[in-house]
Structure formats: C-alpha cells, structure tokens
C-alpha cells in the first residue's frame, strides 16, 4: 500500500493560487468522498488551511493514485494542478505529514495551531468514513510524533512575535497576569494592540492614559478598562504591575528620578515596563531600579528573534526524531498486509476519533 500526498503550501504557491485550490471546511468530507470514487484510491483525507491545501490518499499504486488526484483537481477547477503542487510518494509523504504537524513546515517555525487544524481535518475524515486503517494509523502516529517532538525539544518554546514576547516576559516578572494591573500610556494603534494582547490573557485591570482624554476613554471602553487623565497617571502607578509606553511624546514621560520614590513605597512588587514608543517614553535608567524590568521595542524584537534562532537550533534534533518515527511507520506499512489482523485491531482499538 502506498501513502501519497499531493498539495501546495506557502512554500510553493502564492496566496492567489492557494485560495483558488482551498477547500472550505464544510466541503472537506465531500471532496474526500469524491477522491475515494477515483480508481485505485482506497482512503482519502483533505487538509486545507490558509497556508496549505494537501490531499492525502492511500492507493495500491503510486502513479495511479497521483493521477486520480490530478484528474480530480483538474475536473473540480477546470485547471490541472501545475508546478506549484508537490507530489510526495511513500515514504516522503509520511515524513511530510510528521513535519507539518510538528510545525516544521509552517510559516512561523514551531507554531502549534497547525496541529489543531490537522486534528480537525482528521476528525472530519473519520466522521465521513473516508479513512481506514492506513490513514488512521498514519494520522494517529503523526499526533504522537507531534507530542513527542514538542515535549522533548524546545521547538515550540519562547514567543516569536514582539507582542507575545512582551506578554511572556511580563509573566516571568510578575507571575499570573490575572493578578496584574496594567497601565497603557498612549491610545494609538500600538497601544491598542498591546492592550488587546494583555486583555486577552486576562489581566486584572487596565488603565489608559492619553493626552486626549476622549481617545483614552474610547480605548478603555473597548478594553473594559478605566481612562485616566494624562497628568494623573503617575499618581496611579503605585498599584500597576505592567506599564506600556506608546505615546508620541518627543521626550521621556517617565524618568528614573520619578519612578525610584514610587518603587520605594512598594519594594515587594515588581514593575514590568514595555516601551514601544520611538522616541522612547521611558528613561533607560529605570531598569537599574530594584524590581523594575524595562524592555524597549528593539529588545523585544531581539528576544523574539533569539527565540526563533533557538527554535532553528532545535531543527536538527526534530528532524532526527521525525526520521526515526517515519522509518518505524514505513516498516509497519511495508509489513502491514502480512500482519493485517494485528494492525487492524490496533487501529480499531486506538479509536477512530
């Protein structure tokens, strides 16, 4: 039995092409059923996300299987799949799926969203009964591989975007965000994005201070926070755990000389400062104050890049693990027919969902 994968991804196709071949969530089962009707195809599954459209099939013969999918796509779109489509035979298809679920083939290396998307595609396929023992075993194995790789390597560790890096560091400094009070200085787009990211993580309260009180009030309302007048914010900082600076002021709005006496009144409580403004809102010297941790936009960017570099370093280990799992699965697939009874019962007892 051959397991084949034919598809396109952000590596091979532009968004124009990807959207042309994309399969809507409501259609995946019907498309897989249509593929099953093609000669030689015994099992089929469709994975369609914003970054990839992939058709997995189990067929007795590789050329026959590929040609069945080609013909199906040509009929469906009145256009044959071109150069942008990759065609993976066994065992490359197995390795490819394992890489996909581990996030190694994703636009953001190590992202975990794809695993959920593939699980959803698999659930739809089992519900529509378009998979049987080979694809069932393959996908269940793929989910185990993803778990193994995520647990035993740092491939998903550390945030790789500025916003999430800031949130992650804030958690390291202040603990659970649900206990933290946040103050946002400024009410522009950056302030809104950061406030949104923090609000999404369930911070205890958000204060917004802006030179234009109306804009502060509007943002505070959106974030279910409280607006304060800009000339009053320093008086409110005593209870704040996370301070975000994103004003367009041409000078520092918070200096070490202003903050030091405040911190002396709350020595048991840290203050995590995120300075997203250029020119900077917060004087760099505040980082020297006990209990104050300051990160500016460049440092957050560096942190995100460093995390990404750390993930890249893990690639070799991940690939080795995937190779081992792919070889084991290949061995099972090669011997599967001779021990069909055993493997089939494993698949059945392993659950179809």
């Amino acid at each position: 039995m051959e397991i084949l994968c034919l598809g396109l991804s952000h590596h091979t196709a532009t968004v124009d092409l990807r959207e042309k071949f994309a399969v809507r969530e409501t259609e995946v089962t019907a498309v897989a059923s249509q593929l099953l009707a093609a000669p030689g195809v015994s099992e089929a599954l469709v994975v369609s996300t914003c970054n990839r459209v992939e058709f997995y099939v189990a067929a007795e013969d590789a050329p026959q299987g590929f040609s069945a999918v080609n013909e199906f796509l040509a009929t469906r779109l009145a256009e044959p799949p071109g150069e942008a489509f990759f065609r993976h035979p066994t065992p490359a298809a197995i390795r490819h799926l394992f890489r996909v679920v581990c996030g190694l083939d994703s636009m953001v290396l190590g992202e975990t969203e794809i695993l959920g998307q593939v699980k959803k595609a698999y659930a739809a396929a089992t519900e529509g009964r378009t998979t049987a023992k080979h694809l069932n075993k393959l996908f269940q194995r793929a989910f185990n591989v993803a778990k193994d790789v995520r647990t035993n390597t740092n491939i998903t560790r550390g945030s790789v975007s500025v916003g999430s890096a800031a949130v992650e560091l804030a958690e390291m400094a202040c603990g659970k965000l649900s206990r933290c009070h946040v103050m946002i200085l400024g009410a522009g787009e950056t302030a809104e994005l950061t406030a949104g990211a923090l609000a999404a993580r369930g911070v205890r309260s958000i204060f917004v201070a802006n030179r234009s009180y109306d804009r502060a009030a509007a943002l505070a309302e959106k974030m279910k926070g409280k607006a304060i007048h800009f000339d009053e914010w320093i008086r409110e900082i005593h209870d704040v755990d996370i301070l975000v600076g994103s004003t367009s002021a041409p000078h520092h709005v918070l200096t070490a000389a202003e903050l030091a006496p405040v911190m002396r009144t709350r020595p048991d409580r840290n203050l995590f400062c995120i300075d997203l403004a250029v020119p900077r809102d917060i004087e760099p010297a505040v980082n020297k104050i006990d209990g104050v941790f300051l990160y500016n936009i460049d440092e957050l960017q560096n942190r995100a890049e460093q995390n990404m570099a750390d993930r890249r370093q893990e690639l070799v280990v991940c690939e080795q693990m995937i190779e081992r799992h792919a070889m084991e699965f290949g061995e099972w697939l090669a011997g599967g027919w001779t021990q069909a009874g055993v493997h089939y019962s494993e698949v059945v007892s392993g659950g179809q969902g």
């Binding site: 647990t151 035993n152 390597t153 740092n154 560790r157 550390g158 560091l169 958690e171 390291m172 400094a173 202040c174 603990g175 659970k176 020595p267 048991d268 409580r269 840290n270 980082n287 006990d290 209990g291 941790f293 990160y295 440092e299 560096n302 942190r303 750390d310």
Partner: protein
C-alpha cells in the same frame, strides 16, 4: 549496615543530580516520574538510616556533624515531598536532589562518623529541640535554593539575556513568595525547637551551641522583620537568604571543630 543504606540513598540523589544536569545540558526540562521515585527512594533509605542510627545511639541521631548533615538532607527532601506538585514539577524542585546529594557526599567523604551512644536515658524535650531545629534548617536550605533561583532569574531579566532553560523556572514573584514562606516556616520551627530547649533548660549547658542557635534564629528573625516592615526588596531578601544559609553551613563546620576539641 546503616552506612550502606546511606550510600544507596546517595546514589538515588546522584541519579536526580544527573537528571537535572542532563536536562540543563539539553536545555529541556520535563518532570520525570523516575526522577521523583529516585528521590522518594532516597528519602525512605535516609529515614531507614536515621532509624537504625537512632536505635544504635539510643537517641535522636544528632550526635555529630555527620548525623546533622544527614538529618539536614532528610529534612530538605521532606520539604520537597511535602511542598506539593507545583513546586516539585518545576526546575526549582529538581535542585533538591543536588542539594541532598551534596550534603550526603560531604557527610560520607569529608566528615568523620563517630556515633556517640547516649550515657543517660534520652530526654524528650532535648530530642524534640534538636530534631525540630534541624528540620528548620532544611526549610532554610530550600529557601536558599529559591533565593539563588530568584537572583539568577532576576539577573537574566535585567540583562535582557534569558537562557531557554529559565523558561522552566517559576516567575520571580513566585520565587520571592516561596523564599519568604520557607523562611517563615523555618523560623517558626526553629522558634519551637529553641522553645523546647529552653523549656528543658538543658540547652543552657551547651553555651556555644545555644549561642549559635540563637544567632541563626536572630539572623532569620531580622530578615523577616525587615521584609515585613517593607524595608527591603525581594532581591535583598534573596541575597540574605543565600547569605544566611551559607553562614549557617560554615558556622556548622566550625561548631563541629569546637565540638571535636571538646569545648561543647
């Protein structure tokens, strides 16, 4: 026989030590059942050793620096097991094995083991005083670990250079809380221990030991008072926790030297 129990127990902690070092080297730390059972086995063997030794000397086995170190190691692991899964599953918990291993290796290889048989029937208050005091030092030992972790984490955050292994550490605010709670627990236990000694009246006869114990009690009392009155930051509390326990260990060695000279 009793030393054999201790040697096997030390190997259990060596396993935990090796596991932690391997995790640090590989930059991946994950909770391991095997590691937990190794520590648990080490603890049971320590307990067996202390029981056998107690039977041998006819009193609570705290008659020499050797026994004190083993008891200290035992109480550190006891706190590790009692403190709960959140602590145990973090990297901080994993540092208990190296600490217990260190205490026992020093005891086995550096310190002379001369069991002293009780000349008089054991006195309950004196036994209670000694045992609770050493358990209190176990709490101070773990507070020292929490303090050291706080300082390492704080330094990384301040310098904007965070090693990936530090993602496994609890947030520094939680480390500060752990440090504080362990000092409080240790201080309360030491107060009870000293109280038991004073009730007996017997510890007045050991003037140097009494002075040392009171000195330790006073040191941690000052740290707590300063913290409660908000005069010092968690960073300074962490430094004081590490410093105070280092002083405790160093003076314990000095105390043993004086004891061997027969001044106690």
């Amino acid at each position: 026989m009793d030393r054999l129990l201790l040697v096997i127990s030390t190997f259990c902690f060596l396993f935990g030590f090796g596991y932690t070092m391997h995790a640090l080297g590989a930059r991946v730390y994950k909770p391991s059942r095997l590691n937990f059972f190794a520590v648990l086995t080490g603890f049971l063997l320590q307990t067996a050793f202390l029981y056998v030794r107690g039977q041998m000397v006819g009193r609570c086995p705290l008659t020499s620096l050797f026994e004190v170190l083993i008891f200290l190691s035992w109480s550190t692991v006891l706190f590790y097991l009692l403190i709960g899964p959140t602590y145990r599953l973090s990297l901080l918990g994993a540092f208990t094995s190296p600490l217990a291993f260190l205490f026992q290796v020093v005891a086995l290889l550096v310190v002379k083991d001369v069991p002293v048989k009780a000349k008089m029937p054991p006195n309950g208050w004196l036994e209670l005083h000694a045992a609770i005091s050493v358990v209190a030092y176990g709490a101070f030992a773990l507070a020292c670990v929490a303090g050291a972790m706080y300082l390492a984490q704080e330094r990384q955050l301040k310098s904007h250079n965070i090693h990936s292994i530090f993602w496994h550490l609890p947030p520094i605010r939680d480390l500060a809380v752990a440090n504080n709670r362990l000092i409080v627990v240790g201080f309360v236990l030491l107060t009870v221990g000293l109280g038991a000694g004073f009730t007996l009246g017997g510890i007045f006869t050991h003037s140097v030991l009494t002075a040392w114990s009171l000195g330790v009690w006073l040191l941690y009392g000052i740290i707590l008072t300063a913290e409660w009155r908000h005069r010092i930051s968690p960073r300074r509390v962490a430094w004081l926790s590490v410093g105070a326990f280092s002083v405790l260990l160093l003076t314990l060695g000095g105390l043993n030297f004086i004891a061997q000279k027969g001044a106690l």
